[in-house]
Amino acid sequence: MNALFRPSKENFSMTVEEYAKFIEFFYRKTGIQFQENKRYYVERRIVERMEKTKSESFRDYFNLVRFQMDGQELQLLINAMTVNETYFFREDYQFQALIKGMLPSLVRGRDKRHALKIWSMPCSSGEEPYSIAIHILEFWDQADLWDIEILASDIDSKILAEARQGRYGARSVQRLPAHLLSRYFAPIGDGLYQIRDELRDSIDFTLVNIVDKLQTGRYRDMDVIFCRNLLIYFDDVARREAAEMMYEALRPGGFVCLGHSESMSRMTSLFVPRKFGDTIVYQKPSSAE
């Protein structure tokens, strides 16, 4: 045995079979799919975790990930594999699905006295709920006919304060068309943009721990929940509980939007998949008790 050998970024490479086996396992555990063209990305993150766990081979490390009782290393690997970059209009095909598919479906036959309620959770530094607001104001021709409440929640009070402040760098706003940038933001120097007060004041920001039943029990009668790229960080049972919490928080017929790599059908069968344009969202059955 070569006691001096340790896998490192320089010498580590997976075989075709190892890679196939790993991505199949990772998909089954997380719903996240990596193709062959992501091999370099995947290998770099695996070798980092192998170094951290002092694993001598991929096999040692893979056994740790598969069989560790508390699943902690799997969780850390998931964290390493996911990059949470947020910016305005990120995965905007879901916002388009909101405008073109979900909202029209929700208002069909609905009494106008009942406000539409949209919950962005986790909202991080606010780019998602503000993007939702901008899409509704700009692209939904019925926006003026309805009261629309947007709630935005996160577990992190510091990031929530940033969301409330509504101040963003150029990187955050780079995908916004120029006319929307000038309509909803004011440049404040140093490459920063301040979101307009009218938009900022239209959103309710709240501190919420999604796994706290007492806190989430207050959220009811939602029509749409955006919960993107959060559940990949949870273990299987916590993911089930989170899905059940969202079921409870939604009105019958309401929708959940997950991140592009997440799949509700791997967590629970409570929801019905619906395809709107290029995206799949998950609907609480209208007949739900």
Binding site: E17, A115, D144, W146, L151, D204, Y219, L270, A288, E289
Partner: protein
């Protein structure tokens, strides 16, 4: 119209009490209201003494959303007794109930471990297949050895195929010999030959 803030906060108007004493939660498990049953099942996950009552409720519950919460709470309260009760649903004709039980049992390796031998030797080949499915997804170090034993002892081809499939993912070099023996035993079955070859190729890649 358009964007407005809620006048009462997140849903204060519809805020429901959470919690309650165990006795009243147990009563609520039989409520006519599905939401009340779900709430009770969810809250009882914090009370280990309620585990058998949740198992009892699962026997009669027909609401899919309530069943889902019952399963989740039983995962939280997992024990060999709970796993034994859930394993009984592997015989159910109700696919939703059966699949829910399989998924729940896959989340409780220590609790299902004492039952695995019985399930793998059950008279019903479907139950044996479900046991293999559970093993294949279980965080359980003994899983590869038990699956290898299935290859050696099992006569039903579909149970063997399920075990090969599981070993392709969790098996090690120690499974190769049993896989080769199985391939020889079912040499006329193209699917088994293909599945075994795939499993061996994957295991050797480790």
């Amino acid at each position: 119209m358009a964007l407005v803030k809620s006048k009462s906060g997140p849903a204060a108007a519809s805020m429901e009490p959470v919690g309650g004493d165990v006795a009243s939660l147990l009563l609520s498990l039989s409520s006519d209201d599905a939401r009340a049953r779900r709430n009770a099942a969810r809250e009882l996950a914090d009370h280990p003494q309620a585990a058998m009552a949740l198992c009892d409720r699962l026997e009669h519950e027909r609401g899919p959303s309530v069943r889902a919460v019952l399963f989740t709470s039983l995962i939280r309260l997992q024990s060999p007794d709970v796993a034994g009760r859930l394993a009984m649903h592997l015989r159910s004709d109700d696919a939703q109930l059966r699949n829910g039980a399989i998924e729940a049992l896959q989340e409780m390796p220590d609790a299902i471990a004492p039952h695995l031998s019985d399930l793998l030797n059950d008279d019903d080949s479907d139950v044996r297949i479900f046991a293999v499915n559970i093993l294949g997804a279980l965080r359980f170090e003994e899983a590869p050895r038990l699956l290898t034993e299935v290859l050696r002892k099992e006569s039903h081809i579909n149970v063997c195929a399920a075990a090969v499939d599981a070993l392709a993912e969790v098996g090690g070099m120690e499974a190769i010999e049993a896989l080769e023996e199985l391939r020889a035993r079912f040499a006329d079955d193209a699917f088994i030959v293909f599945a075994v070859d795939t499993a061996i190729r994957r295991i050797r890649a480790d």
